[in-house]
């Protein structure tokens, strides 16, 4: 019951906020593009659509040159590094969602588990878990991700793993802090007195009341994960070459940046896709935070 009115309140607030609406609109747009990818940019049957094949000219000849080719009717967004930019941008949407969702959800789950165990049990368990968290936090994120991907090898799946391993600590701390606060509340004490098992107390009573800030954080992180993955590509440890991913496309453009007249399309299209994607998540996240933040409810 309480949850329902809560959701209605959130929805109402979201609709009233124009930047949030812009964010939601953009997100819906990206979701549609991701779903319709096979229609918008058909891949060759029987092949992994994320591994781009060299583009073909209008006459069906393979393009083997890396030089940028300006947009025309066959390649509406042009060609860079022998790959079709349109294809890359469309399928890159799926890659962006994939990496964002997988990383933020899995790392949040890890964070929630670590955080709630730590906070609920306290004592030496808390001490050990929090020191481990400190250790992971003490290594700069980009450096850690770089080492991991160097060890695991190139590829977006490897990047995902690295980002998960070094991405759960914030959530763990957040959850721990919130649960520590909630632990003192009456209903938890009551549940404890009734002899309900620890696990159920955490799952049923503590988590629901502390989960909203995590949702806000997930939505904020969704966007920046895509940027981090792109930065890793720049440093040579990101997605493999030819993977349908915005960062990979932008990385192709980097060596043509000093002659934008010849290569603008390779920067502009994937760049816009990326900016709008991150923007969308940020706007939604901002709005959610404004709504959830209890201090702001007044």
């Amino acid at each position: 019951m309480a949850m329902k009115t809560e959701s209605r309140r959130i929805l109402k607030k979201l609709v009233k906020n124009p930047t949030a609406m812009l964010g939601i609109f953009l997100l819906v747009f990206f979701i549609i593009v991701a779903i319709l990818a096979p229609v918008l940019a058909p891949s060759e049957p029987g092949k992994d659509p994320f591994k781009m094949l060299p583009a073909k000219t209008a006459e069906g000849k393979m393009i083997w040159s890396s030089n940028p080719i300006a947009p025309d009717s066959t390649h509406p967004f042009g060609v860079i590094g022998k790959y079709d930019v349109w294809y890359g941008v469309v399928w890159g949407t799926r890659s962006a969602f994939k990496i964002g969702l997988i990383v933020s959800i899995i790392s949040s789950i890890i964070g929630i588990i670590v955080g709630s165990i730590s906070a609920y049990f306290g004592g030496w368990i808390d001490e050990i878990l929090m020191r481990i968290t400190d250790m992971f936090m003490a290594i700069p994120f980009l450096v850690a991700a770089m080492i991991m991907t160097t060890i695991l090898g190139k590829g977006l799946d490897k990047v995902t793993i690295a980002l998960i391993i070094f991405g759960w600590m914030q959530v763990a701390r957040l959850i721990r802090g919130n649960i520590l606060q909630a632990k003192e509340e009456q209903y938890v004490l009551a549940a404890k007195a009734l002899g309900i098992r620890n696990f159920w107390i955490i799952v049923k009573h503590l988590l629901p009341n502390t989960i909203f800030p995590v949702i806000v954080q997930i939505s904020m992180r969704m966007g920046s994960l895509v940027i981090t993955a792109a930065s890793l590509s720049f440093l040579g440890v990101g997605a493999e070459i030819g993977y349908a991913d915005w960062g990979t496309l932008l990385n192709y453009a980097r060596n043509y940046m000093m002659q934008l007249d010849k290569s603008w399309f390779a920067v502009v299209y994937p760049g816009i896709a990326m900016v709008l994607f991150v923007l969308a998540w940020n706007l939604v996240g901002d709005a959610l935070r404004d709504i959830f933040d209890p201090k702001m409810r007044a």
Binding site: N17, P18, T19, R131, I132, D134, M135, F136, M137, A138, I139, P140, F141, L142, V143, A144, M146, I147, M148, T150, I151, G223, S224, I227, A230, S231, F234, L235, G236, V237, G247, L250, R254, M257, M258, L260, V267, G271, M274, V275, F277, V278, L279, N282, L283, D286, R289, D290, D293, K295, M296, A298
Partner: protein, 344 residues
């Protein structure tokens, strides 16, 4: 308070050792055959079949991991962090030499990032949900959402290729020559300060000229961050009773914002800014690469990518130390500012 500080200081070495263990074990999963890759850049350098085995032996990679770790730790306690293949000299020496460069960049970056960020945040916060608020936020988020290398290269294109204002690099060759051959004294190792102390304003100007483009890039990337914190903190304060009272008293909005809101809204910003210096420190990799500046970020990135493990561990240790110490300082100062915070 004192107990808190002592406790944190006692934990410090444990965490540092944990960090090195973590990275050590990560790297050692690779095995000697792959680790040796950092010393062998091409097949031509492996004419004899035995070259790889010799290298593995020379760098002691064939020993069991615990033995290697203990040996490394023992050397570290003696002040020897190993040979950095990236720095082409000792790890400690490399890091010590690079600290001033990155520190200078990060400190200067903090100024535009924080001040402009706060300024933007205050404007956005005091115009909540008005077009100005949306405009500023979108402007800042675009910076946040552009991969840093794209924006960096655009800055290079505009300010160097077209306008010829801000060249890449650290200093011009002429200034470097002065620094090398004198008259020049290295006092603080911060070139901008040393230039003033040496009374060489041409070099000061040269250093600034090389700093502007990287600073511009870094600032635009980080404005969104400070803006967001300032803005939400502003919104929070704006709802406080004393602000309502002030408004009710009929004070103009400008006075309310400047006198009552800003001061209180900036406390969280101050704490975040302290932690941000670490982020800036580690986040200079790409700016350093694009603008061909020396620095720790680039050093660490190259080391990580080439698996130059001595450098990687050394750099990680250094960053962790900075991070932990900064956090400690931030926590303490936070407690000093706001006595309600309980340190635990």
């Amino acid at each position: 308070m004192l107990a808190f500080i002592i406790r944190r200081l006692l934990i410090l070495p444990i965490i540092l050792i944990g960090v090195t263990l973590l990275i050590f074990s990560m790297i050692w999963m690779l095995g000697p055959e792959r680790l040796i890759g950092t010393y062998v850049k091409s097949p031509e350098a492996l004419k004899s079949e035995k070259a790889v085995e010799r290298l593995i032996q020379k760098y002691g990679l064939d020993r069991p991991a615990p033995e290697m770790y203990v040996k490394w730790l023992g050397n570290v306690l003696k002040g020897d962090f190993g040979y950095s293949n990236v720095g082409r000299q000792g790890v400690l020496q490399s890091i010590m030499e690079l600290i001033p460069y990155t520190f200078e960049l990060a400190l200067y970056a903090l100024i535009p990032v924080v001040f402009v960020g706060i300024w933007l945040g205050v404007i956005a916060g005091s115009h909540q949900d008005k077009p100005l608020d949306h405009g500023i936020r979108i402007f800042a988020i675009i910076g946040w959402s552009l991969p840093d290398y794209v924006f960096g290269l655009l800055v290079l294109l505009v300010f160097y290729s077209y306008l010829k204002w801000f060249p890449p690099g650290f200093l011009s060759d002429a200034s470097m020559k002065v620094m090398r051959e004198g008259p020049w004294k290295d006092i603080t190792h911060f070139v901008t300060i040393d230039a003033i102390l040496n009374w060489r304003f041409d070099i000061l100007w040269d250093a600034i000229r090389h700093l502007i483009a990287p600073l511009l890039t870094l600032s635009y990337l980080w404005w969104a961050y400070i803006l967001r914190i300032t803005r939400s903190s502003m919104l929070e304060v704006l709802r406080k009773d004393y602000v309502r009272t002030a408004r009710a008293k009929g004070l103009s909005e400008k006075v309310v914002i400047n006198k009552h809101v800003k001061r209180n809204a900036l406390i969280p910003v101050a704490t975040v800014s302290g932690g941000m210096i670490v982020q800036l420190f580690a986040g200079t990799v790409i700016v350093e690469t694009i603008f061909a500046r020396p620095g720790l970020g680039r050093f660490t990135a190259t080391a990580a990518v080439t698996l130059d493990y001595f450098s990687v561990i050394g750099a990680a240790l250094f960053f962790s130390l900075i991070l932990i110490v900064t956090n400690l300082i931030v926590d303490i100062s936070y407690a000093l500012i706001d006595p309600r915070i309980r340190l635990s």
